[in-house]
Amino acid sequence: MTEWLWLLDAGLALALLAAAARLVVAPDLFEAVALFVVFGLLMTLAWVRLSAPDIALAEAALSTGFTGALLVAAVARLNRQERERTTDGDE
């Protein structure tokens, strides 16, 4: 049983690193935000594996859910400003 847990932990750590690496170099902002939410969910699992359920709850609710929502709203606002600026400049 413990071997499977080691495998799970190793897989979780690798997935965290992969998500973080891809998230930092992603050229599309929306892709980066989606990867950020994925990273947050993996981080929640990591906190559970470290026997910290309170931090896992806070990570899932605030750092993943709420910050993810804020980032999506920010990306939408940036895209809208970019669109408005290019349409104004075209006139």
Partner: protein, 232 residues
């Protein structure tokens, strides 16, 4: 939009990029080694558990957050309030999306919002004996408010401004007020007597949950509420 084309990069820049990557990798390895070689510490679990009966709650994390280190939680709420003031000072709320919500979002909102409010109440109560507490409950309330905002409904989320401001300040006011009131009884700031600790913590957590939920929702809305007659 937002895509980069890496067709023509000169070798000098590539060398610099690879040097930076190597440096970052070395730094990560050094940090990992430093953390791994820290001596295993016993932590404060023992002393917290032995002081648990006089804290008023059954869960060590809640006892530390709201009783032993309540000052830190008070400062966290202050930081949240300060960030909200900064966001509100920057401008007015951006106008809502032009198109009406799709069917999935509408149904999801109707299903999830009552459940989220119930879950917030449960997390608030369960925080005294298990994982939970004011911040998690407040986050559930904020999530319910965000869902309502996304579907374009305005009514329950932006109450008249004085009620909204009262609820925003309520958490901090109750927390600091109780902290000062126990000083009037001869104790230090935020030092609850073990006899009343449970009741005081429950009052503080309830006020904090409502306040945190509304603050997070206001942060998500991203600006000052539009007063009637103001240009959007």
């Amino acid at each position: 939009m937002g895509t980069s084309n890496r067709s023509s990069v000169d070798p000098g820049t590539m060398l610099g990029v690879w040097a930076l990557r190597l440096a970052a990798l070395l730094l990560a390895a050094a940090l990992g080694y430093a953390v791994w070689s820290l001596p295993a510490a016993t932590g404060l679990g023992g002393p917290v558990r032995s002081a648990l009966p006089e804290s008023g709650v059954d869960h060590p994390v809640t006892a530390v957050l709201l009783n032993f280190r309540g000052y830190d939680t008070l400062l966290e709420m202050t930081v949240l309030m300060a960030s909200l003031l900064g966001i509100r000072a920057l401008g007015v709320e951006p106008r809502a999306a032009a198109e009406p919500p799709g069917p999935v979002l509408s149904v999801l909102m109707r299903l999830l919002v009552p459940f989220l409010v119930l879950l917030a109440g449960y997390l608030l109560w369960a925080g005294s004996s298990g994982p939970g507490g004011a911040f998690q409950a407040g986050a559930m309330l904020a999530a319910a408010g965000v869902l309502i905002t996304l579907t374009g409904h305005d009514m329950p989320v932006t109450p008249p401004s004085w009620i909204s401001r009262l609820l925003l300040a309520l958490g901090l006011a109750v927390f600091a007020g109780i902290g000062l009131a126990v000083m009037a009884a001869g104790r230090h700031f935020l030092e609850y007597s073990p006899q009343y600790a449970k009741a005081l913590i429950l009052v503080i957590e309830s006020a904090a949950a409502v306040s945190i939920g509304l603050t997070l929702l206001a942060v998500f809305r991203g600006g000052r509420p539009v007063t009637p007659g103001e240009r959007t």
